[in-house]
Amino acid sequence: MASLNDAERAREQTSDLLRELGAHAISVEEEPDEAPDGGVPGGGVPARRHRRRRGFAVVAWFSEEPPATLPEHVEVRVGTRTKAVPLRARRSERFRAE
């Protein structure tokens, strides 16, 4: 699970590459909720509720079909370790001056 800082670092390191691949915008967004530890598939109430951990992803916005070669993760160096940050593609119209 990538933290907000990990995802921000990943965006900083990869945004130029993503732009070259056709992305017109790059955001960092919270990942959808995952079932908490001990949770019941289908949304049942867990026997013991654990503190929810939030994960973040880099989201590349494309006005056309995203390239098939787009990886599912981007790797960032955090100290001596390497972390994988999820990379999501989104189809969306380009922003316009208003």
């Binding site: 921000e8 965006r11 945004s15 130029d16 732009r19 017109h24 915008a25 790059i26 955001s27 960092v28 967004e29 916005w61 989104r90 969306s92 119209e93 380009r94 922003f95 316009r96 001056a97 208003e98």
Partner: protein, 343 residues
């Protein structure tokens, strides 16, 4: 008031079915069971072709009027810009065919005039939230804020509103309201005084879309520092944060609310013409709460009334503003926070 009769209640449901059949997204997708009947499909297609005419500005359900008198009966109403003679095939039929509405229901044609978006437009006093624009450019944006010094006040908005993105020359006339909203030679309010240049090409390096214009001495007495519809001046400035609730008053959509989603948003905005693509970094993505013409609006933190940014771009995926503090640093100015009431 339309009589609340059983007959009208039934008729309303039937007209509503017809209304949906001829206005929902696409024939064949909407109401497949009804439109599987060939007669109903043909009637819907015919009425859709009438609705598509440029002179038809709206369609709805209301009381039928005959020779200036309300009849007490509901009808499917075709609102037109002006009543005029049209080809027989384009004429609104007197009744909706029974195939579409289960029984014949009447229609009516009502002259409505041209429907235009209602915008925040005024000539005086000169206040944030209202229409402003560059003379000679058929457009309009929003006057975001008044900035100091008080002895020589300036208006703050976007570069693409006041300076055509940097194409305009310093000293060019700024109109209030903007040309798109009827601003003309007698509406000059300021002269373009400062433009933050773009680094063009699409690299993620630009921090703002901002420009200022010096208010003409003859119009300084008309300044009202209170933001339209809010009636308050900004209570200082603050920095954006994820989840922050924000509010803005813009020329097009008026007073609307949004929520901050991302405070380091990077994106490319294509201004077209001689400017082309411009890449922005460290911008603020919000939920969608703006529309074309709102550019230049000052964005405020809802809970404190402190200014947090200057709105300038949008898409279906969200609205984007630039943080206000870097803008004020670059233009070397402060928001005017004392109340000027334009009198």
């Amino acid at each position: 008031m339309i009589p609340r009769t059983r007959r009208n209640a039934i008729r309303y449901r039937r007209i509503r079915v017809a209304l949906d059949a001829i206005t929902l997204p696409a024939p064949g997708e909407a109401m497949p069971e009804l439109l599987a009947v060939p007669e109903a499909a043909a009637a819907a297609t015919h009425l859709r072709s009438i609705v598509a005419q440029p002179n038809v500005v709206a369609i709805g359900i209301a009381e039928k009027e005959t020779q200036g008198q309300l009849t007490g009966e509901l009808a499917l109403i075709f609102y037109v810009e002006t009543k005029r003679d049209v080809a027989p095939a384009d004429t609104v039929p007197p009744i909706v065919p029974a195939a579409l509405a289960r029984s014949d229901v009447p229609t009516d044609v009502v002259e409505l005039g041209r429907v235009v978006p209602e915008a925040l437009i005024q000539r005086t006093p000169v206040a944030p939230g209202f229409s402003v624009g560059l003379a000679g450019v058929q457009g309009a944006g929003t006057l975001g804020a008044l900035v100091g010094p008080r002895s020589r006040p300036r208006i703050l908005s976007n570069s693409h509103v006041l300076a055509a993105g940097g194409v305009a020359a310093l000293g060019e006339a700024i109109l209030y309201p903007g040309p798109l909203d009827g601003g003309g030679a007698g509406d000059e309010v300021a002269r373009l005084s400062q433009v933050v240049p773009f680094d063009r090409g699409g690299a993620f390096v630009n921090l703002m879309d901002a420009a200022t214009a010096r208010v003409l001495p003859a119009r300084r007495s008309e300044l009202d520092s209170r933001i339209a519809l809010l009636g308050t001046v900004p209570a200082g400035t603050t920095v954006p944060a994820r989840g922050m609730q924000v509010v803005k008053v813009g020329r097009t959509t008026g007073l609307t609310h949004g929520e901050v989603r991302d405070v380091n948003f990077r994106f490319v905005l294509d201004y077209g013409g001689p400017i082309g693509p411009v890449g922005f970094v460290d911008q603020v993505l919000c939920t969608r709460y703006t529309g074309p013409g709102d550019s230049g609006s000052l964005v405020l933190e809802e809970s404190t009334g402190r200014a947090v940014g200057l709105h300038f771009a949008g898409a279906s995926g969200g609205s984007v503003f630039s943080p206000i503090r870097p803008i004020l640093r670059v233009i070397r100015s402060r928001l005017i926070r004392v109340t000027l009431d334009g009198s």
